[in-house]
């Protein structure tokens, strides 16, 4: 007899619904799974066989064939255990066909018959909802993930018996987790970071605020111990919270990587990733035989912080060039090409020279050549994508001991969100979201200057020896500063500040 179950698989960030077809018929006893199963899928045979035996379902000596359709899509993961087990029981007539109809089944089986959590429930459930499926049955630990998708009723089961009982009597074992509990921002238990922790450094903090408001990439140059890392860690606290849509995107990526489970909730805080400088290109961009998202995709909609920028391998950093431009990363492998979202804010921190104290000539004895060589380790194209560049000063004693009232993250975030709102209304109907997304054409359209400001820039252009590229960057940043100030027009004072955030021209370092 034939039965068909609905399950799902994740490929890259794409989710697909998979038909699990099970046929049990007379013939030489066998149990096989076809349809490009990966090794963990193939091993489902053993798990299902033993688990069913241990819950009292004896497999008759018959020919069991399982097909995962569409058959040309490579399948990985352990979520097919449950649909295969239920499929066999249905094909054997132990469950009525209509009992499992229209229900998405996902779950890994233990040998005793318990259901174990799996990766990727959230994206599969979203895909199922889009295809008109109304219910899903998943391991109890994953039930809340399914419940996050509004169109789907999510049910959790702890073992095969519970799953079967649910299928027979849909009302009996209904688990609908309280979704609100998972959507609400979880308290920051690990470390309570706040902007007010940073004493002094007003220029640095202001630059971070501007960067956050326009989602500009930020480069911090400063001596060791000047608070570069401290500041970068606090940038997510002034970024606006993720919208539900963004939160879903981010959570999808985390779900695929199996990281959502440990988080225990939907990702509602902006990711902050700070890979060590020994990271490989593959770990950064994503990859592997079966492509998996890399660090830059995990930083999607959040902050990717690269500390000690010149210490990163040049080739590794150069991988970032394309994602910084396209906001996504294309990974091609023999099994196919994958596209992962990678819309992150790049925050880089570096010392100005090998010893870290340039241009303080009393402490720094690095030769100009050494300084130059150190800085040249970061390739020009990466530096070109840094809209805002700011220098961090070594902390003085008065800074460390100051008990002054510093602004907290909440206050800064409010200003940032107001600036974001202005951007949203300005870019309504376009693909752009933030000022940093603007290309040269959009800069021309949205950053138009008045006569007086044009003259001002003209003077600046010759006096400060600006380049055309720097000019566009300055306009973009000035737009954000004007947004922060609540001004529709870009004024001189906004331009002046943006000019001060431009990249130190290379001559300085010689």
């Amino acid at each position: 007899m034939l039965s068909t179950m609905i399950s799902g698989a994740v490929y890259g960030v794409q989710s697909h619904l998979i038909q699990v077809e099970v046929d049990v018929s007379q013939g030489l006893p066998c149990f096989q799974i076809v349809g490009l199963p990966g090794s963990e899928v193939r091993e489902a045979r053993e798990r299902v066989k033993v688990a069913l035996k241990n819950v009292g379902v004896k497999l008759p000596p018959m020919c069991i064939n399982v097909n995962l359709s569409p058959a040309d899509l490579p399948k990985n993961g352990t979520m097919f255990d449950l649909p295969v087990a239920v499929g066999i029981m249905t094909a054997l007539g132990k469950l009525a066909k209509e009992e499992s109809e229209g229900i998405l089944l996902l779950g890994e089986l233990g040998l005793s018959g318990e259901l174990k959590p799996v990766k990727g429930v959230l994206p599969i459930a979203r895909e199922a909802a889009a295809r008109g499926i109304k219910r899903c049955l998943v391991p109890i630990e994953n039930a809340w993930e399914g419940a996050l998708v509004r169109e789907i009723e999510s049910f959790g089961a702890a073992n095969v018996q519970e799953a079967v009982a649910f299928l027979r009597d849909k009302e009996r074992k209904k688990v609908v987790p309280d979704v609100q509990e998972y959507v609400v921002v979880p308290p920051d238990t690990e470390e309570n970071l706040d902007f007010s922790d940073i004493n002094g450094q007003s220029v640095l903090k202001r630059a971070a605020e501007v960067a956050a408001a326009g989602f500009h990439n930020l480069l911090i140059i400063g001596a060791p111990g000047s608070g570069k890392t401290m500041l970068a860690r606090r940038i997510p606290t002034i970024l606006p919270p993720l919208s539900l849509e963004e939160s879903m995107e981010v959570s999808t990526i985390y779900s695929i990587c199996g990281l959502l489970q440990s988080a225990g909730s939907l990702k509602t805080t902006r990711p902050f990733l700070h890979p060590h400088h020994t990271i490989t290109g593959r770990a950064l961009a994503g990859g592997g035989r079966i492509p998996m998202p890399g660090v830059i995709s995990l930083a999607h909609r959040g902050v990717l912080f690269l500390d000690e920028l010149p210490e990163f391998k040049r080739e590794t950093l150069d991988i970032l060039r394309q994602p910084l431009e396209d906001r996504q990363v294309q990974i091609a492998r023999s099994v196919g090409s994958q596209c992962y979202p990678a819309d992150f804010m790049l925050v880089g921190a570096m010392n100005p020279c090998p010893c870290g104290f340039y241009p303080d000539r009393e402490k720094c004895r690095c030769t100009p050549y050494e300084v130059k060589r150190y800085l040249n380790r970061v390739s020009g194209p990466i530096l070109d994508r840094m809209d805002i560049c700011v220098e961090a000063l070594p902390m003085g004693f008065s800074d460390i001991t100051a008990q002054g009232k510093e602004e907290n993250s909440k206050t800064v975030r409010e200003r940032v969100m107001a600036a974001r709102q202005r951007q949203e209304s300005r870019f309504a109907g376009t693909k752009l979201r933030f000022n940093a997304d603007m290309g040269p054409k959009e800069v021309e359209r949205f950053c138009r200057l008045g006569q007086g400001e044009l003259r001002y820039m003209e003077r600046m252009f010759s006096c400060m020896q600006l380049t055309a590229r720097a000019y566009h960057r300055i306009l973009k940043v000035a737009r954000t500063i004007a947004d922060l100030a609540g001004s529709d027009r870009i004024e001189e004072i906004h331009l002046a500040e943006a000019i001060c955030y431009r990249q130190s021209d290379r001559k300085f370092w010689q």
């Binding site: 202001r206 220098e391 600046m460 004072i493 906004h494 300085f508």
Partner: protein, 389 residues
């Protein structure tokens, strides 16, 4: 060189070719051998001896091997062809005793017997000042080198220096910008641009100034070649001005040479705590002239020579027009600035300390840039500012 060439003061192109042959064959160094050779006669005659293999017989035992090498070289070297190629590349040479040999250089005891140059040789009728100093200079040194270079050029004084990183290059660059003449004395062949980062300056010197070296073209820069070239820097100048130097600095070699050659030595004073002014301050204590501005230097130099006071006036006028009265925030902020670069953060802090009121960051940025445009301040990197007037 011999009496003959000294008398006529004219050396034919043909003879230049033989001089070039000898210079390139000897390369850098070999002073004793050179002296022994020049006692034998003109380069042309030495070439004849070398080709015929008789050179070794005319020299003492210890030069036998070198003479053999020279003979070998003479057989392989296309004397006239190589010289034509050299001049084709815009490189010329002038030998000791020639009319064109720089007059000031001819006065020094250890003058080079041949000087290669590209571009123009220093004009004899202009006073000459050597602007020298540390390679890893501070912003202060950088700024003063710029001021001196420009002011000297405006006053019609040529600037002699070593085209090195730091003070040397900056001084020459600003002299060129003002349309003055400046020559770079190199420690390698004149066809090599060292350091490579001064490529732009090197090209500008070829076009509007000059570069010279006692080493034949193709000689790579080596550490031991640089101290000897310092005697040419001071030799080409009437006076030497040290802009910035540590207590133990290569710049002080040039000063020693200058004193040996009887040149005036001036130094720019700095702060006692500043290691890069240590050398200058010590020079002053030892009796070097103190110059704190280009016009002081010009007055000392030109006044002593009774030369045009007009040039001095020109510089003074240029300096005075820069003194403008600043009011409001600009004036307040200007008074906080220093000749050392300060970060924006620090400037804001000092402002608050001095005036007891905070200054909003955007206003601070705007005012600082305004000062920059007006020429009262300079922006270094993105976040540092310093006074420039």
């Amino acid at each position: 060189m011999t009496e003959k060439s000294k008398r006529t003061g004219m050396v034919t192109e043909e003879e230049h070719a033989y001089i070039h042959w000898m210079a390139q064959a000897l390369g850098a160094g070999n002073k004793r051998f050179l002296r022994a050779l020049s006692e034998l006669g003109e380069p042309r005659e030495i070439y004849g001896m070398a080709v015929s293999g008789k050179l070794a017989d005319r020299l003492t035992e210890c030069f036998r091997e070198k003479a053999a090498q020279l003979s070998e070289n003479s057989r392989l070297f296309d004397v006239q062809g190589e010289y034509e190629r050299l001049t084709g590349r815009g490189i010329h040479l002038v030998a000791q005793g020639e009319e064109a040999y720089p007059r000031r250089l001819a006065q020094i005891p250890d003058r080079p017997w041949v000087l290669y140059y590209a571009g123009a040789l220093p004009p004899e009728d202009q006073p000459a000042v050597a602007l020298i100093g540390a390679r890893d200079c501070t912003e202060y040194g950088r700024y003063m080198a710029r001021q001196f270079g420009a002011a000297l050029a405006r006053a019609g004084v040529q600037v002699i220096s070593g085209m090195a990183r730091g003070i040397d290059g900056i001084g020459q660059e600003s002299a060129l910008r003002e349309g003055g003449y400046t020559i770079g004395v190199l420690g390698c062949g004149v066809d090599i641009c060292y350091p490579g980062e001064n490529r732009e300056l090197y090209e500008a010197l070829l076009a509007r100034g000059g570069v010279c070296s006692e080493y034949p073209p193709g000689v790579e820069p080596r550490a031991f070649l640089f101290p000897p070239r310092n005697r040419i820097i001071s030799g080409l100048a009437d006076a030497v001005v040290v802009m910035e130097a540590r207590e133990k600095s290569g710049t002080l070699i040039t000063v020693d040479m200058a004193l040996e050659q009887g040149r005036e030595v001036y130094a720019l004073p700095g702060r006692a705590t500043d290691p890069l002014s240590g050398g200058c301050n010590r020079l002053i204590r030892q009796g070097a002239g103190l110059v704190s501005s280009p016009e002081e230097l010009l007055e000392e130099m030109l006044g002593a020579k009774g030369a045009e006071a007009r040039a001095v006036e020109g510089v003074k006028a240029a300096v005075q027009t820069e003194l403008v009265f600043l009011d409001g925030v600009e004036g307040e902020l200007f008074s906080v600035l220093d000749f050392q670069p300060l970060s924006t953060e620090e400037i804001g802090r000092r402002f608050q300390e001095k005036y007891g009121k905070p200054i909003e960051l955007p206003l601070l940025f705007q005012t600082l840039l305004e000062l920059c445009i007006k020429g009262h301040a300079g922006q270094i990197g993105g976040g540092y500012f310093m006074r420039t007037s």
